[in-house]
Amino acid sequence: MTYLGFIREHLLTWIVFLPVVGMAVVLFLPKEKAGLIRWTSAFFTLLSFLASLELCWAFDRSEAGLQFVEKMAWIPTFNIHYYVGCDGLSITMILLTTLLSFLCIFASWSIKEGVKGYFLMFLLLEAGMLGVFVSLDFFLFYVFWELMLLPMYFLIGIWGGPKKEYAAIKFFLYTLFGSVLMLVVMLAFYFYSEPHTFDLLELARPQILKIKDLNIFGIALTIVEFRRVLFILLFIGFAIKVPIFPFHTWLPLAHVEAPTPVSVILAGVLLKMGAYGLLRISFPILPQETYWFSYALALLGLVNIIYGAFCAMAQITLPQDRGGNDWKKLIAYSSINHMGYVLLGMAVFTTEGINGAVFQMFNHGLTTAMLFLLVGVVYDRVHHRKLDGFGGLGVQVPIYTGLVALASFASLGLPGLSSFISEALVFLGSFKVYPSITILATLGIVINAAFFLWALQKIFLGPLNAQYKNLAEVNFRELFTLVPLSVLILFFGVYPMPVLNLMKATLDRLLTLLQAA
């Protein structure tokens, strides 16, 4: 076995655990040497990113099934395995995660206190996220899912904004609530499968998962009802993470209070986990129920789109004391809006829809991450995010303005930028199935444009606020984090096939499974 062969044989394990190795290294660095700690973290996230590029390179695009599978017994008594693999669905997410983590390390330069703890947590977070995306064992999935929660809690709670404790505890409790529901379903799957297993692929086979009637607390559930209950529980568990209306209120708060890189990770990666979970677990294991629920899912997507857009708009119209006037919150609500497109695309079981949805997940990761990074750039300089508090920055910081404009336009779905393609695909797919919902959802496009442009106008246009006469332009380090994202946004806006090629085979198979249901 050659050296490279050894790495490639366990590529996913390398990707997931390189940050952990980095964590171990950072652990032994003296805490005063902030620079060393940062660069070490950057080095290991870079390694992980390079490994994921290698993954992407070696990935067989025509194969719909799982690749790079590694399976080892972990807790044999309960038939639990260390079982990882990646297919078209997860590889995009892995790429997104490693890329954003790497860039976020550089955005974390502004963290000045508790540098060591911060980077330890951050690396752990990355490992947790990657673990979620590669796990094929429900138990392992759950472990990573929870593992990721912990560093997030500390990252928000220690390095966050003025209401960090409140935000952190809310985030933690809310998502934990979702996890508990997921745990219930996980156990149900385990005990109703013959033989008992946590293997997601096995569970997806109807001859393995045999759900029976249930009589509990005096309520008798038939098989069909019980399966639906399971689906709903699982759905709520993931919906909180997505987040789907009305489970979304942790999101604006957490985004606002979290430090910039953590907001980036939250928006860029964590939100995708809910949708990923639905696609990875709910859809293949409970296809009939997914079909049964699809209309509701589309409706929820619609609500997310409209409601998120209105709430984002309210950030401009509402004064600060009524919870408005916050740039970060505006972007946070726009995330809700964007995730609505994902839901809509997922709900319709068409090629365009589901490809668009997953592509939208990817694009949202790029654009919203970029927006949050940009907010962080100006926040580091002026230490506030009030939309009313700026004005006319376009004269002072043209490059910054250009980047914000690019990200905003990408976010509002301007053609030529990547989000447009995914949104268009979603609409093309969903119109076939739910025309009325789709038409209503297109309203979201207009509102999106309205609030993004309004925000741009408030911040960058008009006469220059004299307060910011000496505002510094984006520096090289910040550009280093922003330029790759802009380039990707542009590139995938013009030529989206590299990403679509990665996932289309897998999604097509998933679709066949769902259409059979």
Partner: protein
């Protein structure tokens, strides 16, 4: 010629493809260079933009010459798969046919001239190179728009054009009005775009994924496009939805309100984007999709167009801002084009687009020249600069004549054709008499306000002497485009026959190149019997307009009004002429002015503030309420409420926490024993 040129220089590539890519890519190249390193280049890099657009211009001219030689059957198309998913393909492609080539010619010509003009107009601006970058970007998007061979690609460039428009309108974004106007333009057009997108969705849905123009048409022609929604056939509905995009882009009623505001942008931008090219994109879209529209849809288009025409024209009467007058005029003219297309005058409508592009661009550039000289846009501060700016005056005069529909000028030819078609349409369908009526009325009004503009600006005494003294003729980079464009506004440029596109032709059918090149779709083109009436009517209307303008703004100076007042009591009953004159003034002009004020008010208050801006409070209150609801009901009550319940119960429950670990253990042991005893008992 073009192909042989490319074969000579790039023999390894497909000549047409490379030509098209170059045509499209040169402005993009200019944009990229300008946005990144423009500031550091010599002269702010204006030569890059101008050079690149000149290449595109040259290519389109060559293309046009090829077209002339090969005839109207010319069509070249290529396409490649852009998004390739299982059971789903989106293609990108280039379609080159006479309509495309004419549009290309218009776009690149006007672009090139405006670029040239901008060198003079913008030379003091601190963001000079950025301005050229945006302009290049606009040209790129516009060229892309016309080259697109399917609706989806068209939609993409459609939006990009809107972006360019946004950037350029709010180019002087330090002015809050400019920032506001840019935003307004983008959002209002986006409303139309959403309609268009829904139209695309319907087509995509109905045709099972066909978006290519030709395939849509053949699909429709085969009658496979069925389906109904609320009693309206989906085909009509899709047509109206597509048309909605055009309404937004071409500033048709009721989405026209953005265009006057868009005049906050630099004047060359107004000339290029908001007069000649981008706003004409709506018309282009309708032309391109012409076979797709059902008669019902066409009627809607015709009514919208004609109403817009008259509506905008009346509004133009009251304005004193030189650019706004032109803006309302643009809206009105676009309405005329739409009306033409709506009544089936395919060739005429598109022809008017071409002629209008030339003279309206010329008008705007002239206005820019005047503004450049006087540093004001208010016509009341102008006057008498005819002598000081002879070139500007002459060229503007020519363009005004063209716009007013005076024979021997291009506007006459095309407008007359439209009016004739509309008249014959109304003769066939008498219930639709309003359409030609509005058309003719707007012709008269157009002539009136245009001459009012000319008279107020160039004639009479200078009203602001300080500004007048400062005024001078513009440099040659600015006047050269004026001259070229005014030459293009002559009828001779488009046709051998001075009175229209009749059978009479001086230099063969090719000299009437617009008509020669455009192949009317089979269904349209009414008999030309009504043309004579139309000609007379429109000429009359135009003449009346000019006359009134002349009487009011040229003849009737302040002193003449005083004289009239002095002699009023003496000749009161004798000279009915005055009575009629005064009555006319009182009854018509005054009422007309009042009506105009009212309409402007209506436009401002009802349409703008209530119907459009009225959505803002609703949107705002909805969003505010949603935000409040989110904060109060969902977050504070449902989510935090759960927390409160837990906390309250925790407060009680924690009393059993004594902090003495042995007690806990004792309880645990007791529980174990208790459970064991219970188990034994059971």
């Amino acid at each position: 010629m073009l192909e042989s040129l490319f074969l000579k220089f790039l023999p390894s590539l497909d000549p047409m493809t490379s030509a098209m890519v170059m045509l499209l890519g040169m402005p993009l190249l200019g944009f990229v260079i300008q946005i990144f390193i423009g500031k550091r280049l010599f002269r702010g890099g204006d030569w890059v933009s101008v050079g690149t657009i000149f290449v595109s211009f040259a290519l389109s001219v060559l293309l046009f010459i090829d077209l002339l030689s090969s005839g109207p059957q010319f069509q070249w198309t290529t396409s490649w798969t852009w998004i390739d998913l299982p059971h789903f393909q989106l293609t990108m492609g280039i379609l080159v046919d006479p309509v495309t080539i004419l549009m290309l010619l218009v776009i690149t010509t006007v672009s090139f001239l405006v670029f040239l003009y901008s060198i003079g107009y913008m030379h003091e601006d601190p963001r000079y190179s950025r301005y050229f970058a945006y302009l290049s970007f606009f040209s790129f998007s516009m060229i892309g728009l016309v080259l697109a061979d399917n609706l989806f690609a068209l939609y993409i460039f459609w939006e990009l054009v809107g972006l360019a428009s946004y950037l350029l309108i709010s180019f002087w974004f330090e002015k809050p009005e400019a920032a506001e106007a840019g935003k307004k333009a983008f959002i209002v057009t986006r409303i139309g775009d959403v309609g268009m997108f829904i139209g695309i969705l319907i087509i995509f849905f109905e045709t099972n994924g066909l978006l290519h123009f030709d395939s849509i048409f053949s699909y429709v022609a085969k009658g496979q496009f069925g389906g109904e929604f609320l009693g309206i056939s989906l085909l009509t509905l899709a047509g109206i939805c597509i048309f909605l995009g055009a309404v937004g882009k071409s500033a048709q009623f009721p989405l026209h309100i953005w265009l006057p505001d868009a005049m906050e942008g630099p004047t060359p931008v107004s000339a290029l984007i908001h007069a000649a090219t981008m706003v004409a994109a709506g018309v282009y879209l309708v032309t391109r999709m012409f076979p797709f529209f059902t008669p019902e849809a066409r009627t809607v288009i015709a009514y919208t167009g004609s109403f817009t025409a008259i509506f905008a024209a009346t509004m133009a009467l009251t304005h004193n801002d030189i650019k706004k007058v032109l803006a309302y005029s643009t809206i009105s003219q676009l309405g005329i084009m739409m009306m033409g297309l709506g009544v089936g005058a395919y060739v005429a409508g598109f022809f008017h687009l071409v002629t209008h592009a030339a003279f309206k661009a010329c008008l705007f550039l002239c206005a820019g020249s005047v503004i450049h000289a006087l540093h004001t846009q208010d016509m009341r501060e102008m006057g008498g600069i005819r002598k000081k700016m002879p070139i500007t005056f002459t060229t503007m005069g020519v363009a005004t004549l063209a716009l007013s529909g005076i024979p021997f000028f291009s506007g006459f030819v095309s407008k007359d054709l439209i009016l004739g078609e509309s008249l014959s349409f109304a003769m066939e369908n008498p219930s639709h008499f309003l359409i030609p009526l509005f058309g003719f009325l707007s012709t008269g009004l157009t002539a009136f306000y245009m001459f009012r503009l000319i008279f107020m600006t160039f004639y009479g005494e200078p009203r602001d002497s300080k500004k007048f003294d400062h005024a001078h003729e513009s440099p040659w980079v600015m006047t050269l485009p004026l001259i070229i464009l005014s030459l293009c506004s002559l009828a001779i440029f488009f046709t051998g026959s001075p009175l229209g596109l009749g059978e009479l032709s001086l230099w063969g059918e090719k000299s009437q190149w617009v008509k020669y090149l455009l192949e009317p779709p089979s269904s349209s083109e009414h008999p030309t019997s009504a043309h004579l009436y139309a000609l007379i009517l429109s000429l009359t209307m135009a003449g009346c307009g000019i006359l009134f303008a002349y009487l009011i703004y040229y003849k009737q100076t302040l002193s003449s009004e005083k004289i009239a007042e002095k002699f009023k009591c003496i000749y009161k009953t004798l000279t009915h002429l005055y009575w009629i004159d005064e009555l006319y003034e009182w009854a018509v002009i005054h009422n007309l002015l009042r009506l105009n004020t009212l309409l402007a008010h209506f436009d401002n208050r009802v349409i703008d503030q209530v119907l459009v801006d009225g959505w803002a409070p609703i949107t705002i209150s909805t969003s505010t309420n949603s935000g409040d609801f989110d904060n109060r009901a969902i977050d504070q009550m449902l989510v935090d409420g759960t927390g409160k319940v837990v906390r309250a119960s925790g407060k009680e429950v924690r009393k059993i926490q004594t902090g003495k670990i042995q007690q806990y253990l004792l309880v645990g042991l007791g529980a174990v024993c208790g459970i064991l005893i219970l188990l034994t008992l059971v």
